[in-house]
């Protein structure tokens, strides 16, 4: 993008506290427009002091604190990380800070010296990523340039993933809280799995998954695996399968209604997983979800999804197909209040069932789709 002069700075429009242009209708999407009372302000200050103590200077005490009091950390994160510390804490809990320190100069190399096959695809989507945020609005301005650099660097770093639509929203959200290089390593931490299971399968064109039922020993501690090829965003498909089952188990009446109306999660929840709620949800809610997502992993996405459906279930079960789809993409404002929705989400237990359904999904797909014998010998862990 270096050939382009920055475009004109967009004329100032009223913004919300996160930098998004306010919708014309004067309805604040974040519900935070009302002035904060002195009491709230003080409470916030106290919270920030507690957090600063927990982190230490530049994050020096963090690991120690997490080891000693993981439950305190979890509880505090669930209440929301103070906005002024969010960028730093996200890097600490995602493991990206360590990646950055272990790989000095790598990001610069990727941005400056490497070329990517995805460059045109990335450019095409740059102005279509958070188009209503002030940082990304100026054509070829600093926001758009950073976004381009991070996505390009990632597409070179991991050529199997390259660039996929949706990644821009992850990178964009991160760039509002940290530098380009930090955002890049956080993306790496997420997709390559620094702390939790890797999520690159959300964006892969295909992946090979070993089929446990076809393992044969070829001697010397080596095994030959039969591999299963999953095509097209394999992890999205797995998550949708798992979510579909969870809906039926947790909300049987609604699940039954979905079946009757032929609604499946790909119609409304693909974006939830592909962009971790950053695509179309109110930003203050997305941030609170990300706080927990980075610390506890992807299960929070399932929990929040279920909580949303649970909160609205009484209305949703009455709606026919089209209205249902509309409602599933336009949840009412009260449903998206983090202080209502998140406690509800925390109370839903999914871990055990998620693991069981992952197995079920792998077995089921092993039976139906094409399998490929892989010649490589793989040492069994």
């Amino acid at each position: 993008m270096d050939d382009y002069e920055p475009g004109p700075v967009p004329s100032p429009r009223p913004l919300d506290r996160f930098g998004f242009v306010k919708p014309e209708l004067n309805i604040s999407p974040d519900g935070l427009i009302k002035g904060r009372s002195a009491c709230e302000y003080e409470r916030e200050e106290r919270r920030v002091r507690k957090w600063r103590k927990m982190i230490g200077a530049g994050g020096s005490d963090w690991k120690h604190y997490v080891r000693r009091k993981p439950h305190v950390v979890r509880r505090r994160i669930r209440k929301g990380i103070p906005d002024c510390l969010r960028g730093l804490v996200w890097q600490l809990i995602s493991g990206s800070r360590d990646l950055l320190l272990m790989n000095p100069g790598v990001y610069e190399q990727l941005v400056i010296y490497e070329t990517s096959a995805s460059e045109l695809d990335i450019i095409r989507d740059i102005s279509r990523t958070f188009p209503s945020h002030v940082f990304f609005q100026q054509r070829h301005g600093p926001g758009q340039r950073s976004l381009y650099n991070v996505l390009k660097a990632y597409s070179v770093f991991d050529r199997d993933v390259g660039y996929v639509q949706g990644m821009g929203f992850l990178a964009g959200l991160l760039l509002l809280y940290m530098s380009e290089e930090d955002a890049f390593w956080l993306l790496v931490a997420l997709l390559k799995g620094a702390v939790h299971a890797p999520m690159e399968g959300l964006y892969l064109a295909f992946s090979f998954v070993p089929l446990p039922i076809f393992v044969t020993e070829v001697g010397d501690g080596y095994f030959r695996w039969r591999w299963q090829k999953w095509v097209g965003l394999p992890l999205v498909q797995q998550y949708l399968f798992q979510f579909d089952h969870l809906v039926r188990e947790h909300l049987p009446k609604l699940g039954e209604h979905f079946t009757q109306e032929m609604i499946n999660p790909s119609m409304y929840a693909s974006q939830w997983f592909i962009t971790v709620f950053s695509y179309s949800f109110p930003f203050h809610l997305a941030l609170r979800i990300w706080d927990v997502f980075l610390y506890e992993g992807v299960k929070i996405v399932f929990k929040v999804g279920l909580a949303l459906l649970k909160y609205c279930a009484d209305d949703l079960v009455k709606l026919p197909f089209e209205k249902l789809i509309h409602a599933l993409r336009n949840f009412p404002k009260d449903a998206m209040d983090p202080d209502t929705l998140l406690p509800m989400a925390y109370s839903i237990k999914v871990s055990k069932r998620l693991e069981e359904m992952k197995q079920e999904y792998e077995n089921k797909n092993g039976k139906t789709a094409e399998s490929a014998e892989c010649n490589e010998k793989q040492k069994q862990a």
Binding site: T129, L233, V236, P320
Partner: protein, 214 residues
Amino acid sequence: MARRADEEYDYLFKVVLIGDSGVGKSNLLSRFTRNEFCLESKSTIGVEFATRTLQVEGRTVKAQIWDTAGQERYRAITSAYYRGALGALLVYDVTKPTTFENVSRWLKELRDHADANIVIMLIGNKTDLKHLRAVATEDAQGYAEKEGLSFIETSALEATNVEKAFQTILSEIYRIISKKSLSSDEPAPANIKEGKTIVVEGSEANTKKPCCSS
């Protein structure tokens, strides 16, 4: 579920919008269903959906339109939506030759996943960008004739030919469906999702909303 009087229709036609990323599919849809164009639109992730009820050949037709993400990798998810579609609007960008060159790949995609007799219309969008045009009308016209597709050029931004494009494909679908129908009193059910006609009431098409949100 009873049909409400104001939402009665004779036919329900499912149509898919496909084509490369960034050719303007979502804005064609919003122009047709809400008469809106959004300069600050986001790239489509997965699938979007909208409907509009209109008169076609003297009948009330509800068009149920599925808008799909254009990037190749999304086809694993979006191709499921071709099934049961009676029509497909295959969109390219008249200022981007590669999006026209990829039309043949999209046709193959339809042949692999959609019903054999799906009605396909080729649409060259963004004619408002006159000085950037890179695909000649005649070339696209010739290609469409060779492949047996109907063809039109549109501008979602200027609202040129958008209405006509949808009217044309819906009329074509109607003619095929009504030929199949045995009794004129009882319209043939439009096949969507394995034969189930989804009866729906109410339409959000008329409620004005800002098209962009964070």
